[in-house]
């Protein structure tokens, strides 16, 4: 099909699709007048039942915790997939030198990395109290390590994140989430049923299993993003002409 023909077909179809979608959304309740019931029921019951202040976290890790298991494995599978697709350019990291950067850049970069690491851990830890949680905090923790790389400390980065070890974290994070569910089964209740003490709302020691699932998720996400970065950065450094010589 020529590009003109394709564009014509698309233009006609897209007009129809737009009309269709607009007709569909016109049947929704007016913006700002959500009628429930699902979310409202959870808003009313979650703080009392689950002793968490962030209901979104309760939905993510408990009421709909099984979705999150799937989500963890989507990320996990995509990391494995990217590793499969980019497997042909694994050069030996030991032979490559660090890029030349000024000491100031290094110091600032490493300082930022430390700040990011602490921030990330904080975001993870308070996930069921305030906005944030395993996913968001995990990405921030991973980006702390990336900053080490960007600051020019390639060898330090590789020492901090040897692929074999990160693989272990990745596997135990994703697998750990599922294993926590299996623990519930072994205790005789439903998969992913809460078994930890609920604790006092508003403190870190609250939420029961949510806390464990949150940590497993953070482990998986930070390892996943580190692996993704390593794969792409290796690929790029292989593309750089100076790295080949």
């Amino acid at each position: 099909m020529s590009r003109g023909l394709r564009l014509g077909l698309f233009a006609v179809s897209a007009a129809g699709l737009t009309a269709l979608l607009l007709w569909g959304v016109a049947g929704l309740p007016d913006f700002g007048h959500y009628r429930g019931p699902y979310g409202f029921v959870l808003n009313a019951s979650a703080p009392g039942e689950r002793h968490v202040t962030n209901v979104v976290a309760a939905v993510v890790f408990d009421y709909r915790g099984f979705d999150t298991l799937g989500e963890e494995f989507i990320l996990f599978a995509s990391v494995m997939g990217v590793a499969l697709l980019l497997r042909d350019v694994r050069d030996d990291p030991g032979r490559r030198d660090d890029a030349m950067r000024s000491d100031a850049v290094r110091m600032v970069g490493l300082g930022f990395a430390a700040v990011l690491l602490v921030t990330g851990l904080y975001v993870v830890a308070h996930g069921y109290l305030t906005p944030g949680g395993g996913f968001q905090g995990g990405v921030v923790v991973a980006s702390a390590f990336i900053l080490v790389y960007l600051a020019g400390e390639y060898r330090a980065y590789r020492r901090l994140t040897p692929t074999a070890a990160v693989d272990v974290f990745e596997g135990s994070g994703a697998g750990g989430y599922a294993v926590i569910g299996v623990v519930s089964l072994l205790l005789g209740s439903a998969f992913l049923h809460n078994f930890g003490p609920l604790g006092t709302s508003g403190t870190l020691a609250s939420g029961g299993s949510i806390a464990f699932l949150n940590v497993a998720s953070a482990l998986e996400v930070s390892a996943a993003f580190m692996l993704l970065f390593t794969e792409f950065l290796e690929e790029l450094s292989a593309l750089r002409p100076e790295a080949r010589s």
Partner: protein
């Protein structure tokens, strides 16, 4: 709640994670063993679920969040025998694929096994889930694994192109599904299918309901590969390595169709039931179109993997037509057909894998007369061709019987002959290939067929000594035998109809899911097929032989006939070939067209 229910998902996922964490420290044989063991265990657990759900559904609430006052708080798995059978089937095919792939992929360590296991877990979850958004999650999980597995052979351009076309179209399909979910949620405030059904019950379908249903329909049809959403499928399946093709072709496409039934009956039948007649016409029409386009394109291929991909599309059309009849018999027949036919297609893909391995090519013309190098593959090719053409009473004949009966029940007596024609063409194509490869019949060149596939770099070259024959041949033979055997299970068709009835009885199903009220067990529903299914099957078998001979000896026809046939057939063939351009922009344009057209028809017919 039955403790087995989460296991078909959880076992493969935990095994995949453990393999990632520990596999790099252990040997290759360990990976293979874990893969086979896990897939087999999953198949066994899913089979146990079929048995346990024979009398009533197994409803499982994750986290123990049972519904309160009819409002679902958590996610439910709703295990019924047909869905559990599909999950068990996925486990069986994955096991066969792992056995075939024993030390097949040397360079990638654990990655192949990890992705295949996650893929298996995702398929099980997709087949069992009773929650709309949870289905989307497993839909995406299947996709992500499949994208990467298709592009396994990154050195060649074709797998990359196939994976890109696959990834882009299926991601858009998933977005259509998600938009549909959003609309449904905005209206009903529910994600559980039974609860959605109760909320929509008895309402006159308005724009939102019709559009939401159309979006979900189109999204799942993209995954299934129905016309005009099918273009990605032939590119992806032709480029994927054989052990992956087996899974994609035998089960993934058909799961999309089963999802349609699982969504339509519990959630939408209460509001769209009034226009079921027009909806039936739409779905059956689309199914027939898909069956014929797929069959015609299959006939034009010489690359055996691409040929089988188009056979898959044709069969998706048959199943869509059967499910689209919107009767219990249609659904039961379609599911039985999916499983028996999936076993055959898996065996055929493995036979192609054996040919590539033993004779160095997957190209029909280049393999002419070389079948002797792989006798087992030759047997499988012939048997598969006959089974696809419809050899009564073997293989998919049980499902076929139900489909024929159901078509007559709803006044679609014209449907079985048309589907038999599609079976004749696909079966004929396979018999043509088998005769050419094994017996050396036909010409050495055939300009009608598409271009020669790129040189055989698509399969990893494994040293011949490394693969012991039983591991190579065993799975293909076992699958063919299983396909023949399933048809002999006594009373299968009668029982399957009852299982489908349970899914389609919306009020009883909702009471069971949301309030735990078990329905009474029903006795089997006898089918009494009469002679019609035999007649159609024998006719399609005869047609298949005729098509095979036509494909092989077309040039020996009288000159006048050839000239006339050329003038009539050439324009549509050229157009059909040109439409499958391999360009992702074209495919997305067709996808947009399909959504607009189908959505428009649903809107017109549903009101």
């Amino acid at each position: 709640m039955d403790v087995l229910v989460p296991l078909p998902v959880v076992i493969p996922l935990i095994a995949a994670a453990a393999l990632t964490a520990a596999g790099q420290f252990l040997g290759r044989r360990f990976d293979d063993t874990v893969g086979i063991g896990t897939a087999a265990a999953t198949a066994v657990v899913s089979t146990m679920l079929v048995v346990r759900s024979l009398d009533h559904d197994l409803v499982y609430w994750f986290g123990g969040w049972t519904p309160r006052h009819g409002i679902a708080l958590g996610i439910a798995f709703d295990v019924e025998p047909l869905g559990a059978a599909l999950a068990a089937f996925a486990g069986v095919v994955t096991t066969a694929s792992f056995v075939f792939a024993w030390r097949y992929f040397d360079e990638v360590g654990t990655l192949f096994h990890v992705l295949m296991l996650i893929f298996l877990g995702a398929m099980s979850g997709f087949a069992l889930s009773g929650d709309l958004f949870n289905m989307f999650v497993f839909f995406e999980l299947m996709s992500v694994c499949a994208f990467a597995l298709v592009a396994y052979q990154v050195e060649a351009a074709a797998p990359l192109q196939g994976a890109i076309n696959f990834a882009v179209t299926n991601t858009i399909g998933a977005l259509l599904v998600l938009t549909g979910i959003g609309l449904v949620y905005g209206r009903t405030g529910a994600l559980n299918l039974a609860q959605i059904g109760r909320a929509l019950e008895g309402q006159k379908p308005d724009g939102l309901v019709l559009v939401a249903f159309a979006l979900l329909l189109c999204g799942f049809l993209v995954k299934a590969g129905a016309v005009p959403f099918h273009f990605w499928l032939s590119d992806a399946y032709a480029a994927a390595p054989v052990p992956v093709c087996v899974l994609l072709s035998a089960i993934m496409s058909d799961l999309g169709l089963h999802a349609l039934a699982r969504i339509y009956w519990p959630a939408f039948s209460g509001t769209l039931g009034g226009s079921a007649g027009s909806l039936r016409a739409l779905l059956v029409g689309l199914g027939v179109l898909t069956a014929l386009v797929g069959a015609a394109m299959a006939f034009l291929q010489r690359d055996l993997k691409r040929l089988l991909a188009f056979v898959t599309i044709s069969h998706v059309g048959v199943f869509l037509a059967a499910i689209g009849l919107l009767t219990p018999r249609g659904l039961a027949g379609s599911t039985l057909y999916v499983i028996t036919d999936g076993l055959v297609k898996a065996a055929l893909f493995l036979a192609v894998g054996i040919l590539i391995h033993r004779a160095g090519s997957g190209d029909e013309l280049r393999l002419r007369g070389l079948g002797g190098r792989a006798p087992v593959a030759s047997i499988v090719l012939f048997a598969g061709g006959l089974l696809v053409a419809g050899l009564p009473p073997l293989g998919s004949f049980v499902g076929w019987t139900l489909v024929v009966r159901s078509s007559v029940d709803v006044g679609y007596g014209w449907l079985p002959p048309v589907l038999a024609l599609a079976a004749a063409v696909t079966g004929g194509t396979l018999l043509r290939a088998a005769a050419r490869i094994v017996l050396g019949w036909g010409d050495e060149e055939d300009p009608l067929l598409s271009h020669e596939p790129p040189a055989e770099e698509e399969e990893p070259q494994v040293p011949k000594s490394r693969l012991s024959p039983p591991l190579l041949f065993g799975p293909a033979l076992a699958l063919i035998v299983a396909a023949i055997g399933v048809g002999f299970t006594p009373g299968l068709g009668d029982r399957a109809t009852r299982w489908a009835e349970r899914l389609e009885d919306r009020p009883a199903h909702a009471a069971e899911v949301l309030a735990g009220k078990l329905p009474p067990a029903l006795p089997p529903a006898p089918v009494h097929p009469g002679v019609a299914p035999y007649v159609y099957s024998l006719a399609s078998l005869a047609g298949a032989v005729a098509f095979a001979l036509f494909g092989l000896y077309r040039r020996r026809l009288p000159h006048l006939v050839r000239a006339w046939a050329g003038r009539v057939l050439e324009p549509p063939v050229t157009v059909l070939k040109a439409l499958h351009s391999g360009v992702v922009g074209d495919y997305v344009a067709w996808l947009t067209f399909g959504v607009a057209a189908l959505g428009g028809l649903v809107a017109l017919l549903g009101r």
